[in-house]
Amino acid sequence: MPRKTMVEAIRDAMDVCMKRDDNVVVFGEDVGYFGGVFRCTQGLQQKYGSNRVFDTPINESGIVGAAVGMAAYGLRPCVEIQFADYMYPAYDQIVSEAARLRYRSNGQFTAPIVVRMPTGGGIFGGQTHSQSPEALFTHVSGLKTVVPSNPYDAKGLLISAIEDNDPVIFLEPKRLYNGPFDGHHERPVTPWARHPQGEVPDGHYTVPLGKAAIRREGSAVTVLAYGTMVYVAETAAQETGVDAEVIDLRTLLPYDLETIVASVKKTGRCVVVHEATLTSGYGAELSALVQENCFYNLEAPVMRVTGWDTPYPHAQEWDYFPGPARIGRALKAVMEA
């Protein structure tokens, strides 16, 4: 089985889709000739021509707005926003246009677009290259929001997203592009080549949207995580010896309530982990869902471990990042409660 980095897996997904469907087009800032600042589209322009893979002006609203128009025509644009932190100018086009087009036109026009964007911190990117805005998308009706945590899923989920007939926000944890990250920033990075989930089959396959995966089975507490935090949570479980079940949500909307509820009913405890800020974050939704569906099975209050409610700092990156030590403390606390 070939091994790929997450960057290569994402590129491969676009390649597979472009080969199968002439209507798939790829564009964004620096994605054409150069192949993207993270190299996710490298080689695609040479392969498919500048009619289907091209550079755009620096205008995120223009990128997504043009994609909506192209989708109304019948294309399937897969566009890149260089960093999730830069998506705000496109937010109106995403929220008011792409997300509501099917509904407001009663299906006459639809927006089968994918908006890819690198998300999360851990690369000393400061406040403008580190944000995790997923809750700004999951709060919007009509959008699907996906966050892969490994190369196999990234390829399979991105193919599903491109083939989906609704708009999909595809958040790529940039800290995971080159290898799984256990949260110990002082240690050298393990490359995906040495990780089982770095195995990425050639050709077409899909990972369905809306299905979570259990990454680590356990009986004591359920950890709900996605993206970068999946490995950090696994590490915390190993280091504390708490028998945690780590669930990788993979798709935040639609979410896989069945898997979440089955696990929490089994363990009776739940810790929610994300890198984004705490207040009104996606973890609040997860916490409410667990409370509504598993109240009589809960042995302890649901706990959240997240980024602090501050902008993402530069020098204090590792004080901000919810690393294995903080998650470990929450695991112990929830066991003692």
């Binding site: 009619n51 707005g65 128009g69 019948g74 099917r102 009509g142 309530l257």
Partner: protein
């Protein structure tokens, strides 16, 4: 060193407010027939002056004059008159229906009928408009059934949008009319995207984007012009300058720029201004711009100089911010009257036939309205079900929406 003088802050204001005498002396109006008609493949830099003049065909004596005249036959002009009259009658009935509580909201076109009616005539089947809320003439002149428009306005059981959209936010893919958003300017860059897609696919269809004078201030206007210019998209970018953005006069959006059309010059996009109340002129300019797009010559920016005679919407009262008689003073006159007088001069129309046509059209509109009302109005009669509310958010309803629909008991 001398003391620097204190700075002062500038906020543009219209020349006249309520109580004052309307004054349009600063509106520079070219004589009908005066502005040249360049070939469509002209280099944009050769026609920069067209962004400051006003292309006009019908003169004060109701004659069609100059290089932009003579493109339409008598029959076509008569049909154009009928479209505008139909739109006006439709507006009158729907405006009244809103006052009678049969719907929540309406937006009329009074004074701007020529813009969308004449533009529609320049398009081919398959072309796509990305309109704002004041281009229903595209539908009327494009043969969209008036019954569907009314059912949409009434949000009744036949509403093609199933009650999900505010009145007048029509959508008809079949008639080349993209779903109206209600958020301003978003459709402008979408039109460019649609046109880019048509070029990518080697198609022959073109797009038309629509925007108002006020919304040219939005960032998406800039996005549209950048993308259209960069990719030479086959799109006509229309600006309907009706002088008023709700209560805000056009000077607030225009700032120090001479005209809205002039915004195109910095992008290398040919920019034309046209008398928006002059049906043959609107048609001629639209045809010119559409041909440029069709021949792969790229985008054209067109500013229609017109006047919003009515209120912005049924929720607006223009007497609070402009003189009551301002529309009478508008120097470009009324589009229906001007075309009517031209056709009378040509000997193919008369006062009597006009009166007769008015009555005929009104009774046709009333008949359709009666039929629409048998399918319900906003608060009475049959209407889309609460169950419909949950449909169409996604292609397939996800579990969380199914649960909510169940909770809602619908």
């Amino acid at each position: 060193m001398s003391e620097p003088k204190a700075l002062s802050f500038h906020v543009p204001a219209p020349a006249v407010r309520p109580g004052g005498t309307p004054d349009f002396t600063d509106v520079q109006i070219s004589r009908a027939g005066e502005v040249e008609r360049p070939p469509v493949d002209v280099a944009p830099e050769k026609i920069r002056d067209l962004a400051f003049k006003i292309i006009r065909v019908l003169n004060r004596d109701s004659q069609a004059v100059g290089p932009w005249a003579g493109l339409l036959s008598d029959a076509e002009l008569l049909q154009g008159l009928r479209h505008m009259m139909t739109l006006r009658a439709f507006d009158a009935r729907m405006q009244m229906a809103q006052r009678q509580g049969k719907t929540s909201f309406y937006m009329q076109h009074m004074g701007e009928e020529a813009v969308s009616c004449a533009f529609r005539k320049a398009l081919e089947p398959g072309d796509m408009n990305f309109p704002t809320y004041r281009q229903a003439g595209l539908l009327i002149a494009g043969g969209y059934p008036m019954l569907e428009m009314m059912c949409q306005i009434y949000s009744n059981e036949l509403d093609p949008m199933k009650g999900r959209q505010l009145p007048v936010m029509y959508s008809s893919r079949e008639h080349g009319f993209f779903s109206i958003s209600g958020n301003l300017a978003t459709q402008y860059i979408q039109a460019v995207g649609w046109a880019m897609a048509s070029a990518i696919k080697g198609d022959t269809r073109i797009a038309a984007g629509w925007i108002g004078d006020g919304s040219t201030a939005e960032s998406d206007f800039h996005a549209a012009l950048v993308f259209a210019s960069t990719y030479k998209a086959p799109v006509v970018l229309n600006i309907v300058n009706n002088q008023w953005a709700i209560s805000t006069f056009q000077g607030i959006a225009r700032g120090g720029s001479g005209t809205f059309a002039a915004r195109g010059l910095g992008f290398g996009i040919p920019a034309l201004r046209v008398d928006g109340n002059d049906y043959p002129a609107v048609y001629a300019v639209a045809k010119w711009a559409v041909e440029r797009a069709r021949r792969n010559l790229g985008p054209t920016l067109v500013e229609y100089v017109t006047y919003r005679v009515g209120a912005h919407s049924t929720s607006d009262d223009p007497t609070a911010y402009r003189p009551k008689t301002e529309s009478d003073a508008w120097p470009l006159g009324d589009p229906v009257l001007r075309l009517k007088n031209h056709l009378i001069l040509r000997g193919v129309w008369s006062e009597e036939r006009h009166k007769q046509a008015e009555a005929e059209i009104m009774s046709e509109v009333i008949a359709v309205q009666k039929e629409a009302e048998t399918h319900g109005t906003l608060h009475t009669g049959p209407h889309p079900s609460a169950r419909d509310m949950f449909e169409g958010v996604f292609e397939e309803m996800p579990p969380h929406l199914r649960r909510q629909r169940q909770q809602g008991g619908v």
